[in-house]
Amino acid sequence: MLTASVGDTLLSHGMTQVGPVTLAHLGLLLHAIRNPWVITGILCLLGFFASYLTALSWADLTFVLPSTAFGYIVVAFLARFWLHEPITPYRWIGILLIVCGVGFVANGPSLTLHEPQHATEEPAPQGGGAVTGGTR
């Protein structure tokens, strides 16, 4: 989440140095990937993907995705205080809603544990045949 936010901000900072890329000047993209800010941004995003995959290997998708949305808030703060971009009241409300959403999943269990195949004939303790496991 932090690597994604920092990565996006570094990419944004790097691309403002490179300048606008148009279809007529696609060669600028090659110039962009030599920019140290862009390179660091890409490395951060690779770190994000590795962390995201690791999280998915032990937690539910519906737990991991809203949790990573917390990165939108970090991006907003980085954009406001580092890149000096204006944040409208709508965006602050959006940030508040995301905080609430992340709070809902953060307090719940991270993984759905499924009953073993031989036990499926007996009624499951909770609906849908899936038992919600403990939070890791």
Binding site: W58, D60, G94, I95, G101, V105, G108, T112, G128
Partner: protein
């Protein structure tokens, strides 16, 4: 719609391209999550076989590769959408639809226990992302 000399797509094409972005993103997320579930805890694999073993375990999964392919398709369909639809609509609409679509898809395909708490989280994040583009 004509804006600043650029001709934008009509409503049907607009929502068709946005839905394509969201659908391919959901497919990518669900396939990747399904692959990681099959592979198992990456921390344990890394402890046992090292970083190379963990990378091999992930990249040798056809389901993971299909997921990455779907993510790439989503990225390029987003680029296509952005060339025809205003950014302030395309980005939040596709992101919000992806959050909701993932909740449905995770319940149906990954058999996750999407309880009231997780539905509320998906809806709040979905609305929040939409407002971020205002």
């Amino acid at each position: 719609m004509i804006h600043a000399g650029h001709i934008y797509a009509g409503p049907i094409e607009t929502w068709a391209t946005i839905l394509t972005v969201a659908a391919t993103a959901v497919a990518g997320d669900v396939l990747t999550a399904g692959a990681m579930r099959r592979i198992g805890d990456l921390d344990r694999i890394r402890a046992k076989s090292g970083l190379g073993g963990a990378v091999r375990a992930v990249t040798s999964s056809p389901m993971f590769l299909l997921g990455v392919l779907s993510m790439a398709a989503s990225f390029f369909s987003l680029l296509f959408t952005l060339s025809n639809v205003e950014l302030s609509l395309a980005a939040p609409a596709s992101a919000s639809l992806t959050f909701l679509g993932n909740a449905f898809a995770a319940k149906i395909f990954l058999k996750e226990n999407v309880n009231r708490r997780r539905w509320l989280a998906a809806l709040f994040v979905c609305a929040g992302v939409f407002l971020l583009a205002k």
